[in-house]
């Protein structure tokens, strides 16, 4: 049903805007990235289920596999930043020395 598609595209856009705007934490941007991937997965699954294209059902599962890899990589970088600075505020990521 097209109205459900509109809602999920709105959710994708909301998460995209949330990814581009920083507040104080780095991990909340990673959470918005996870939200983007979840909305992409759901809209791909809905279109594949509606058009009955059977063989393309492999795609959402493989998307989740590579999402796990990306989330782990982002979290490991966050752990390094947190080990150096104590917390993960984005104002710590400032190499400017003057």
């Amino acid at each position: 049903v097209p109205l459900v598609y509109i809602n999920i595209i709105i959710a994708f856009t909301v998460s995209l805007i949330g990814l581009l705007i920083y507040r104080s934490h780095l991990i909340s941007s990673l959470l918005c990235l996870e939200g983007i991937i979840l909305s992409l997965f759901i809209i791909a699954t809905l279109i594949i289920l509606n058009t009955h294209s059977t063989l393309a059902s492999i795609m959402p599962i493989v998307l989740l596999v590579f999402t796990a890899f990306k989330a782990a990589l982002g979290l490991s970088l966050l752990v390094i930043v947190s080990n150096i600075y104590g917390t993960d505020y984005v104002q710590n990521l400032n190499l400017l020395q003057c």
Binding site: L31, E34, L49, L78, N83, T87
Partner: protein
């Protein structure tokens, strides 16, 4: 009396339950994206994942909906929750404790309700494409062969065409474990 009214509302709303679930999906993403504090963002993602799983299940994709629940919520968000508990130590701020967060959340709710009311009043929403018809509730079925049962979700697990893909993803996950150990070891 009020119980009868609640029952009538529920009976009318059940035909539109997919729409209600997708609205809950959008509202939870607005709650994540207005960035309260990482723990509550994770809570919003859990609710959104549950609503998304409900949407996929009501379109008939049972295997993919359960994958959302088990692998996405149970695997990756648990990892996010533990890392959040480890990496951020402070006083967490809720959605109502900071004016910026509350303002962003209310702004997202207002925009979403405007679009929903516009879509419910007129029959269609013209943004770029033309999404028309609230009432296309018929999922076009090809009258599938009744011999072997589920069409789509059964062949999602058929790995006879995608053997090379399975090998590539398995190897890349193994390499990613090695990479992350190397990154976390640092200097």
């Amino acid at each position: 009396m009020s119980l009868v009214m609640v029952e009538v509302h529920v009976r009318i709303m059940v035909t539109y339950i997919v729409f209600v679930l997708s609205i809950i999906f959008v509202i939870s993403f607005v709650g994540v994206s207005s960035k309260p504090s990482p723990i509550y963002g994770g809570l919003g993602l859990i609710v959104g994942g549950g609503a998304g799983c409900g949407v996929v299940l009501s379109f008939g994709g049972s295997f993919l909906g359960l994958i959302v629940f088990l692998i996405y919520l149970g695997g990756m968000l648990v990892v996010f929750g533990y890392t959040t508990a480890m990496a951020t130590e402070q006083y967490p701020e809720v959605w109502v404790s900071n004016k910026v967060v509350l303002g962003a959340f209310i702004l997202g709710l207002v925009v979403e309700s405007l679009i929903v009311i516009y879509a419910l009043k007129s029959g269609e929403v013209k943004i770029v494409f033309e999404f028309d018809g609230l009432g296309d509730w018929v999922i076009y079925d090809t009258g599938g062969s009744g011999v072997f049962s589920e069409e789509v979700t059964g062949i999602a697990a058929l790995y006879s065409y995608g053997v090379w893909l399975v090998i590539v993803t398995g190897w890349s996950l193994f390499v990613s474990v090695v990479i992350i150990m190397e990154i976390t070891r640092g200097n």
